[in-house]
């Protein structure tokens, strides 16, 4: 240790010590109140071009209840409005649709993709308790509930994390369950019934079977392992399995019934199996450069409806100056269609048990480009802005389109913009 100005070490130490003790003594009265609250507030704006718009304010509060123990509280209020594709294909005539109860109708002009107008509000609350169990384990217990005009959900979750191997390995086990009620506006249609045959219900708003709603149960389990590979690299591997049973059909979706010329004759209300078994494998790796951090994730998903999906996701956090950062995001996802997905039903073919023209169950490719900018505000707060552009596309001109169907884009590309502003503060 060659030191040029040798005596300066003592002076430098004295100055540093003075800073440490001087400031510590000033803050000594605040020791008991070391960051008790963390608040995240954000507003998310989601807009599908010509379709759905969602404005979603979120308030997240985290209260530190002890050394390393937290209670998280989340409140979300969504206002959704706009139009979503009802599943029918465009055709050369205006199309009129009637709800299951016959109480409401809407018309789509010739040549346009039929969209169903809607507006809804959703309130969701969630509370989570996160605390150490022993020196190697943590437990997180959660309860959540949400309500919309036509949907209600209540759920419970439990997660256990355990460290092994000098904390280089973490095992995660989680289970979650929810009980949902669907109360379709205009009643729940009879699956595969022709729209023209739907019997208007005088009461209106009631389901065809005289029920106010349908229910479904969802159970999920996850097992994961996180491994520190080197001082710069971390990898994570998860397997998750989910089981849904009950009313899994979308009451607002229909399938066009066409003849051999491709002309639309009628519509059938869609029908989905009442059980779905979902599985996925997820692999994520993070690499820490000198300052920047890169995250790459790949997911393979499959279910017993026949959907197989591959998703790759890349985030790169670039540290700018004074704590600011810029984070580009790229995501690519591609999925195969469910077995019962169809563009339309031919009137001469037997009526299948299950059929849906919901584009979300079709062959679908989703590409996301995003950018996030974070700026520190003061010492303990951060403001960040996230902008993403999402494109969902499929095959609009399939080889098996019939007659005049060939003239129309049966799978219009959906462009979505997401803008989110978040403020994080600590008190």
């Amino acid at each position: 240790m060659q030191l040029n100005d040798k005596a300066s070490i003592r002076r430098a130490l004295a100055a540093a010590t003075c800073t440490l003790l001087g400031s510590a003594s000033q803050t000594s009265h605040a020791e008991g109140s070391d960051e008790k609250w963390r608040v995240d507030t954000s507003v998310l704006y989601y807009s599908e071009q010509d379709r759905v718009t969602v404005v979603e304010p979120v308030v997240f509060l985290r209260k530190t209840t002890g050394e390393d123990s937290f209670v998280n509280f989340r409140l979300i209020y969504d206002t959704m409005s706009g139009a979503s594709a009802n599943g029918a294909t465009p055709t050369n005539k205006p199309q009129t649709f009637t709800s299951a109860s016959g109480t409401s109708t809407y018309t789509t002009p010739a040549g346009k993709t039929p969209l169903h107008d809607f507006s809804d509000q959703r309130v969701a609350v969630a509370v989570e308790w996160d605390k150490p169990v022993d020196h190697l384990s943590r437990a997180i217990y959660g309860i959540n509930a949400s309500t919309e005009n036509d949907y209600r959900s209540i759920g419970l979750s439990a997660t256990r994390l355990r460290d092994f191997n000098d904390k280089l390995t973490t095992l995660t086990l989680g289970i979650a369950g929810s009980y949902d009620s669907v109360m379709p506006i205009g009643g729940a249609p009879i699956p595969m019934q022709l729209m023209s045959a739907a019997v208007p219900s005088p009461a209106g708003g009631e389901g065809d079977e005289g029920e106010g709603g349908k229910t479904k149960l969802v159970a999920d389990a996850i097992v994961g392992i996180t491994q520190v590979l080197t001082r710069r690299a971390l990898t994570q591997f998860n397997y998750s399995i989910g089981y849904s049973s009950g009313y899994l059909t979308d009451p607002y979706k229909v399938v066009s019934v066409i003849d051999a010329t491709g002309a639309t004759l009628d519509y059938r209300f869609e029908s989905r199996p009442d059980i779905r078994l979902r599985q996925s494998l997820y692999w994520k790796t993070a690499y820490h450069f000198d300052h920047d951090v890169m995250h790459f994730a790949y997911r393979y998903y499959w279910d017993d409806w026949g959907i197989h999906a591959h998703t790759a996701d890349l985030h790169y956090r670039m540290e700018l100056w004074k704590g600011a950062y810029l984070q580009p995001h790229l995501r690519y996802s591609t999925q195969t269609a469910a077995n019962f997905y169809t563009y339309s039903l031919l009137n001469t073919s037997p009526v299948p048990t299950y059929a849906s023209a919901d584009y979300r169950l079709g062959d679908l490719t989703t590409t996301t480009y995003g950018l996030k900018l974070g700026i520190p505000v003061g010492r303990t707060s951060e403001l960040n802005l996230r902008v993403e552009s999402i494109t969902q596309s499929g095959n609009g001109y399939p080889a098996d389109a019939i007659g005049i169907q060939k003239n129309y884009d049966l799978f219009p590309t959906i462009n979505t913009t997401v803008v989110q502003i978040t403020y994080t503060g600590r008190f």
Binding site: L3, I9, L13, A14, E35, D68, T230, D290
Partner: protein, 293 residues
């Protein structure tokens, strides 16, 4: 926790940070002595709980188990990290709070179990404060690395307690946490506090002499009971984070007198890290010191 009446002062003792801790107070009543002792004890235990590497429920554990993610720290932790970073620079990287993982291979238990060169070299990629991203209030510790504030914690606790207690009383106090001590001033009769120095080469309670302090701090680095002996070579427990090996020529112990326990402790540690040049370094710093070889 015990409180005893001595000649002209009260001596309160408790255990914290794996050390016997005592507070000597020249106050009249037992109640006042107990109040001061309680304040010191609560503060010492608070600091221990917050920064001990043996606990899994504190900020240190959160940082060490962050797996490469940034962790936001409170002001006090930030001040200590700033201080540690400063000491790293001043010692040209010899004092390094990331070097604690060398404990996995070095156990100074008096045996001859010197680790293999490979075992030591394998840990070096996980050592080095320069590999840590510290941008107050966020620390990003590369996965697998650990920090340990053990080299600062006890001295910091002494100085903090001295500040707290001095704000409560004008009486003379001597705070002694395991040999790191601070006196708030001369005793009422004008005499200094006299403190026996431990002889590190003896295993018993033999004294290597006495130090007198009026106002100021004394700290010792080194512990001759912690060593390895193999093939006639004695390996002292002060390690060089650059090599992962004991500093050649390091004294058995270094004791320094300074204005605060932190300064005294750091100067003593820096001197140990200088090895053969410990005495020269201390002379250059113009500090009162005592080196045992």
């Amino acid at each position: 926790m015990t409180l005893l009446r001595r000649a002209g002062y009260w001596e309160g003792t408790f255990e914290a940070m794996a050390s016997p801790c005592s507070v000597l107070a020249e106050v009249a009543s037992a109640a006042e002595a107990r109040r001061l002792l309680d304040l010191a004890r609560v503060e010492a235990l608070r600091i221990e709980a917050k920064f001990s590497r043996y606990r899994q429920d504190n900020i240190l554990h959160r940082i060490n188990s962050s797996g490469g993610q940034p962790i936001e720290v409170d002001d006090e932790t930030a001040q200590l990290l700033d201080y540690a970073a400063h000491c790293h620079t001043l010692s040209q990287g010899r004092f390094d709070i990331t070097s604690g993982i060398l404990r996995r291979v070095w156990r100074f238990d008096g045996s001859d179990r010197v680790p293999s060169a490979d075992a030591v070299a394998a840990l070096l990629p996980w050592i080095g404060w320069d590999k840590v991203t510290w941008r107050r209030p966020h620390i990003t510790l590369p996965a697998g690395m650990e920090i340990d504030l053990g080299g600062i914690g006890k001295e910091y606790a002494v100085d903090r307690c001295a500040l707290l207690l001095a704000a409560e009383t004008r009486a003379s106090l001597l705070i002694n946490f395991g040999g790191d001590l601070f006196s708030t001033g001369a005793r009422a009769d004008g005499h200094s506090w006299r403190v026996g120095l431990d002889d590190p080469s003896a295993t018993g309670s033999a004294s290597a002499g006495e130090i007198e302090i009026r106002r100021g701090a004394v700290a010792t680095s080194g512990d001759a009971r912690r060593y390895l002996l193999k093939d006639g070579i004695r390996y002292v427990h002060i390690l060089d984070p650059h090599t992962g090996w004991p500093v050649p020529g390091a004294p058995h112990s270094v004791t320094v007198v300074a204005g605060s326990c932190l300064e005294a402790g750091m100067l003593a540690t820096f001197a140990m890290l200088m090895g053969h040049d410990a005495e020269k370094f201390l002379l250059d710093q113009h500090v009162t010191h005592h080196v045992i070889r």
